[in-house]
């Protein structure tokens, strides 16, 4: 239903490429007969439109990694999808990669959906040349003669400013930045409609990071892919994403256009995240947030942020706030912000 709420978009945007509805993903462990659940993702809904870079921000215990794993279909015990669905437009009717049959997965992988992983440094097979990774990953989808394929790869490598000689190199012979650019080329060579990027530049030095982000942006513009971009780094989000969702303790707390999030943050947690970041040239003192991120095996009742929230009130302890639209396209889950509409 929230998809309806975002209707003011043009028609082609009306059908999102990915819609996640009320997703619940728990780590269920059964140790010595005692069942324990870590509610890493607990009721998350959002939609990624065609041709946008959708950002997801959150700290280490926010559940963003679990969310990515669930969407990517990399669900292995003890992780379990307890409820909700994740529907891709190019894979309709299954409610998630984990429910799709292998033949369907084979059809969409790399053609429609690709990944840039957190440990991108280590995604290339260390004992084989870079060329073979391109052949293994992309050739089955592109086909044609091997020579034409190689020319296509070389042309694509030029987009990330890599020399063709990279293909004959082993991964350890490349610098970190070169490897990351090779991984970026590998993930985009089939022009997939959807790219999941999980902390793709976290391990890079700042200068290289900016360069790689620019390349990702360029390729995305050119191919019109959608990107789900996950990082804890708000600076990166500000630089590259179109829309941005903030996650805290397994739930979304705010979602809006990136300009709106940084220009007019509403949730107390988002406000803190942005205001606490130091900036060169600004000498105002910054404050840390009291308390600590909650233990997801035993999360606080009501709003999970309430123990650390300066605006917390009685209702926050009892009830779970739902995402309400405070302005067109700006959703926030906070009683203090939404009280006009709610109570």
């Amino acid at each position: 239903m929230h998809a309806d709420a975002e209707q003011p978009q043009r028609d082609q945007d009306a059908q999102p490429l990915l819609s996640v509805r009320d997703l619940q993903a728990y780590y269920q462990t059964s140790h010595a007969g005692v069942r324990r659940g870590i509610r890493a993702v607990d009721g998350v809904s959002f939609a990624v439109r065609r041709g946008e870079i959708y950002g997801l921000a959150g700290e280490s215990s926010s559940g963003k990694t679990t969310l990515i794993k669930s969407i990517a279909g990399a669900i292995r015990p003890p992780l379990e999808i307890v409820g909700g669905s994740m529907e891709f437009a190019f894979l309709p009717g299954y409610g998630g990669l984990h429910r799709a049959p292998p033949a369907e997965l084979e059809r969409i992988r790399w053609r429609h959906l690709s990944y840039i992983m957190q440990g991108s440094m280590n995604v290339l097979n260390p004992v084989r040349r870079v060329r073979s990774s391109f052949v293994d990953f992309a050739y089955p989808h592109i086909g044609g003669s091997r020579r034409r394929f190689e020319q296509q790869v070389i042309a694509h490598l030029a987009r990330v400013k890599l020399d063709p000689s990279v293909l004959a190199a082993f991964p350890h012979e490349l610098s970190g930045g070169m490897r990351q650019r090779a991984a970026l080329a590998l993930a985009t060579i089939c022009r997939p409609g959807f790219i999941i990027a999980d902390e793709p530049t976290t391990a890079l030095d700042v200068v290289v990071q900016k360069e790689v982000l620019g390349m990702l942006r360029g390729i995305q513009r050119e191919t019109g892919s959608s990107v789900l971009f996950v990082t804890h780094d708000m600076g990166v989000h500000a630089h590259i994403t179109d829309r941005l969702a903030i996650m805290y303790a397994g739930r979304l707390v705010e979602e809006a256009a990136t300009t709106e999030i940084f220009g007019n943050p509403l949730h107390p947690y988002t406000r803190h995240l942005i205001s606490s970041l130091p900036r060169i040239g600004d000498d105002a003192p910054r404050q840390g947030l009291g308390g600590a991120p909650p233990n997801l095996a035993d999360p606080p009742s009501g709003c999970r942020f309430h123990p650390r929230c300066p605006l917390a009130r009685e209702i926050c302890r009892r009830e779970i706030p739902v995402m309400g639209e405070s302005a067109p396209g700006h959703r926030v889950a906070c009683f203090a912000v939404n009280q006009g509409e709610r109570a």
């Binding site: 280590n122 995604v123 260390p126 084989r128 073979s132 089955p140 890599l162 082993f170």
Partner: protein, 347 residues
Amino acid sequence: MPATTLSSISGAALSGYAGYVGRRLAQFLIVVFIGINIAYLVTHASPIDPVEQSISAVTSFGNTAPDAIEQMRNSLRELYGLGGTPVQQYLTFWKRILSADFGPSLSAFPTPVGTLIVRALPWTAGLLAVSTLVAWVLGNLLGGLAGYYRQSRGLKLMGVIAMGLHPIPYYILAMLLLILFGFIWPVLPISGGAAMNLPQSLTPEYVWSVLQHAILPALSLILIGVGSWFLGMRSLVSNVLAEDYVVYAELAGVKSWRILTSYVMRNALVPQVTGLAMSLGGIFNGAVITEKVFGYPGLGSLLVDAVYAGDYGLVLGVTTVSILGVSVGVLAIDLLYPLLDPRVKVG
């Protein structure tokens, strides 16, 4: 800019390989040096005179005239460099080894020890090479499959069998095979290298006989080898499966057999090559005893029989050749290693 970086890097890789070869050669020389010194220490630091040992062993077989014994004693002393100061003895020892001259064999007088060893060497080398290779390939293949298809019942059962086989010493397994095929189900020759009545030649009958005779000794070496490579590979594969490049290839929908071969097994094999080099000494020990059990005419039988016959020169010769042979084998594997792992260590 990337092109320049690359060429300079591959230059470094090349010098890295040269460095690697240099280090392996140095280690080879160290092994041989220490090994030969241990042999020297064992023979010279013992309170018992090996010459007297030999003589008492030889004389215990029959009556020998006293002056013949005295003559033998002197020639042995001279032969094994037991005269002179310790420094002189040490130098003589090395001189003999470097010139591969161990004198005549006592037990097969006057055949030189060298000739006996050269005659036995191909048997041992052939048996070892074939059985080690078969065991390594088979064990890694099955172990790799067992690590990848963890649910397969057949492979699980194989794991249990491997756990039972791996810790059994070569002698016990060889004996069990001997009992099985010698007493309970006598279909295979249980002794010798080939049928006695056939002349050594390349005729099909002779070759067939050699192969038949090799089955049991090879089988006992292979069974234990397969068990240990199987277990090692299985645990390596389960580690490699968690590596980013494997997870990523799975996400990319790379075909399963390709992931198994080019990603999982290919990477897990790298430490197994090092493992092969490191266990060569142990495998050789196994070959020695297996040869003795099956009366196979290789270095192992030669060594044991030389001890029974009190043939000092032969024992020393076989020991030295063993150290040298195993070291050469290790060096060969080490030099092949970069073919499998492009990341030859520079450090």
